[in-house]
């Protein structure tokens, strides 16, 4: 599909490629460039707001857009992202086996994953905590009301551990049913197979928002089980790839801070308002060479996908069906906890 953004970014890519090919230092990036496609993690079904399939059978969502942004940064074209459907349980084996290059799929940064599973993580790009959502008809407000109840949870996730740990801490007797796919879990919860659904706050909010006909049908319990930093997961041993991913995320945030958007990026690049923007958009050199990418990769990326705020609004925020508040996931200057490292 040739959208305007694609044409623009492809033209930009073609121009950028002209003055000699840039040599990537990261083996993963090199492999992606040789292959010509980026392999990203999808989901077996829809994980609303983050990784979902729309009516035209296309992938969309916050995580998908970040993957597309990374693809644009590396290959110059968001359409070169290839989304591999994976269940939660399969994501790490798939990463280890090279079926995907990176996991950008609401994945929490944990010590076990960082050490035992042989992964390494990017900077967190999203914050959300584990919470419970229960059927409104139960008339409960916190997890103690779940005594004797059934809780559904996704198998092989951190949520599975966190909720088990939390419930045993507060000493509430309950039964767990765990499912391998989000769709199965959602169907089971909505069919009232379980009294509560242990999930990741933003996902629960999205699910509740899709049931807009009846806002009281579900209640998110007051317990905050955890706050998880969500980050991209990569295979151990390729530090340069982590750099690329971190600066891709940083560029999205800096762009938002500086007000560089999909619409005005070309204009900003022509007349940069300050040196930071000039460097970000590759007007002044430094952004590309140090990462082994094209100088203008951030410009192309923003032209194709927009800045972090735009990505959020499109998939979760005010321009989406879910209309979630930015909350913690806003820039530090707007009361959130997201901030970019220094671009020097």
């Amino acid at each position: 599909m040739l959208t305007k953004a694609t044409v623009v970014s492809m033209a930009a890519a073609a121009i950028a490629m002209l003055p000699g090919a840039v040599l990537a230092e990261s083996p993963t990036v090199k492999e992606i460039q040789e292959r010509g496609t980026m392999l990203c993690s999808g989901h077996n079904g829809s994980y609303f707001g983050f990784v979902e399939v729309n009516d035209k059978n296309e992938w969309k969502g916050l995580d998908i857009d970040i993957c597309r942004a990374l693809t644009t940064a590396i290959l110059g074209d968001p359409e070169k992202a290839q989304i591999v459907p994976l269940s939660w349980a399969q994501r790490f084996p798939a990463l280890q086996s090279g079926d995907v290059d990176i996991i950008i799929k609401a994945t929490g940064w944990t010590m076990g994953r960082d050490t035992e599973l042989g992964l390494q993580f990017s900077l967190p790009y999203f914050f959300g905590g584990t919470q419970f959502m229960a059927h409104g008809e139960l008339g409960i407000t916190d997890a103690t009301g779940l005594e004797g109840g059934t809780i559904c949870v996704e198998a092989g996730t951190t949520i599975e551990r966190i909720s088990a740990n939390y419930m045993s801490t507060i000493g509430v007797e309950h039964t767990i049913v765990s499912y391998e796919s989000a769709a199965e879990l959602r169907a089971a919860y909505l069919a009232n197979r379980c009294d509560a659904f242990a999930g990741w706050g933003p996902n629960l909010a999205v699910l509740r928002a899709t049931e807009i006909d009846n806002p009281d049908a579900h209640i998110i319990l007051s317990d905050k089980l955890s706050s998880e930093p969500i980050a991209a997961a990569m295979r151990q041993g390729d530090e340069d790839f982590v750099d690329v991913v971190n600066w891709m995320l940083a560029a999205l945030l800096i762009a938002e801070e500086e007000g560089v958007t999909k619409a005005n990026v070309a204009e900003m690049a022509a007349t940069p308002p300050n040196p930071r923007v000039a460097r970000l958009l590759g007007v002044e050199p430094g952004m590309g060479e140090r990462l082994g990418l094209r100088e203008t990769w951030a410009r192309e990326m923003i032209a194709a996908m927009g800045n972090f705020g735009e990505i959020y609004d499109r998939n979760l925020g005010k321009d989406s069906a879910y209309n979630l508040d930015r909350g913690l996931n806003n820039l530090w200057s707007h009361g959130g906890v997201l901030y970019a490292p220094i671009l020097d």
């Binding site: 349980a89 004797g148 109840g149 599975e160 767990i176 765990s178 169907a187 009232n192 197979r193 295979r235």
Partner: protein, 378 residues
């Protein structure tokens, strides 16, 4: 003739070379696999070995026959998965065999209505993938009313989307498990003693009922009834035995599918009994039931048992699909353990070993059964 000799030696040499090459090739493949596993795992920073088995899991799952907690080590969790698999497999095998024989006999019956009904059953359940039947059944079951609107029979048996609640003995779970094992042992003893079928059934039924009552009288908490009847308490039912809906869905769908296959096996066996034999029975004035139990079935059993054992193995293997509906069978617990611990190779090896063991046991049992049948016929 020298040339013939020469040809033979040449052929012999060629065969030696081929076999040698095959051995060398296999060794290279295995060593290569080990080497790249070592390289790949080292690159990922994963330590291999079975040490993780003693680490606590920290996560919970749906079903277990014995008490479980989130602090169980991986070894216990996997053992529970194995028990669950054996439990579902065992019940499914017994029920499938019973229903399979019923429907198989009905397909061979002279009554056209029985024949039609059995054919419809077999053709429906045999020709749709098992996993589709399971997911379908599960979707239907979870749309049943919730526990507070549960359908009930005489306020003792309840059916809701959480499961089937039935009255049980008022004894601790460990005693119940002991009773179950004792009952199974009784079956084994009766078979070993070669007790005739009807009398054996009677003994078994009597022994089991007696055992249950005795256990309930001894172990039931003082002042409480020996039966525990399910009753709604808060979000769930207390008392009685709860069969979770996942377990029920597993057993029902495997039994529907397995019994349809076994019915075909039974029909095939009955068909192979020479018509002359049944006609001889008729000529002697034997009743149809007598002809069936004394002539047709014993004759058919010998050709039924080998494919029947294959079906049992198939049913055991089919228990892996529990993962599709969140039933914590061995496969699901292995799969979750892989994600939670990263010990892929070790866990897959355990999974494979478990299946090799179970299949081997069933195959041995089948051989024994076969031998016993043959002896009887002499």
């Amino acid at each position: 003739m020298a040339t013939a000799m020469e040809l033979r030696t040449r052929a012999k040499r060629r065969k030696l070379i081929i076999q040698g090459a095959l051995i060398v090739l296999s060794v290279i493949v295995v060593l290569g696999a080990i080497q790249s596993a070592r390289v790949n795992l080292a690159a990922l920073g994963i330590t291999s070995g079975f040490g993780f088995l003693e680490r606590g899991t920290g996560w919970d799952y749906s079903f277990s026959l014995i008490p479980k907690s989130i602090n169980d080590p991986y070894s216990k969790t996997l053992f529970i998965g194995f028990l669950n698999m054996m439990f579902v497999g065992f019940i499914s095998i017994i029920l499938s065999t019973i229903f399979g024989f019923l429907f198989g006999t009905a397909r061979d019956a002279s009554n056209i209505a029985l024949k039609t009904a059995a054919s419809v059953y077999v053709q429906i359940f045999r020709n749709i993938p098992l996993i589709l039947q399971l997911i379908f059944l599960y979707s239907v079951l979870i749309h049943f009313p919730g526990p507070r609107q549960a359908m009930s029979i005489a306020d003792a048996v309840f059916l809701s989307n959480r499961g089937v609640m039935i009255p049980g003995l008022n004894v601790p779970p460990s005693v119940a498990l002991g009773l179950l094992i004792a009952s199974l042992l009784l079956v084994a003893v009766l078979i070993l003693l070669k007790t005739p079928l009807m009398r054996g059934l009677l003994y078994w039924l009597g022994g089991t009922v007696f055992g249950c009552i005795a256990a309930a009288l001894i172990f039931a908490p003082a002042g409480e009834s020996i039966f525990s009847i399910p009753a709604l308490a808060g979000l769930r039912f207390r008392g009685g035995i709860t069969v979770p809906i996942e377990l029920a869905a597993m057993i029902v769908s495997i039994v529907l599918y397995g019994s349809a296959y076994i019915a075909e096996v039974v029909r095939g066996g009955l068909n192979q009994v020479p018509r002359g034999l049944t006609e001889a029975g008729q000529a002697l004035g034997l009743t149809p039931r007598y002809i069936w139990s004394r002539i047709k079935l014993p004759m058919a059993l010998r050709s039924i048992i080998p494919p029947l054992v294959n079906q049992w193995i198939f049913i055991m293997k089919a228990t892996t699909i529990g993962v599709a509906i969140g039933f914590s069978d061995l496969f699901m617990l292995v799969s979750t353990s892989i994600t939670q611990s990263g010990q892929t190779l070790e866990l897959i090896a355990i999974l494979m070993l478990a299946f090799l063991l179970v299949n081997f046991a069933i195959a041995q049992f089948g051989n024994w059964l076969n031998a016993r049948m043959k002896l009887k016929a002499h």
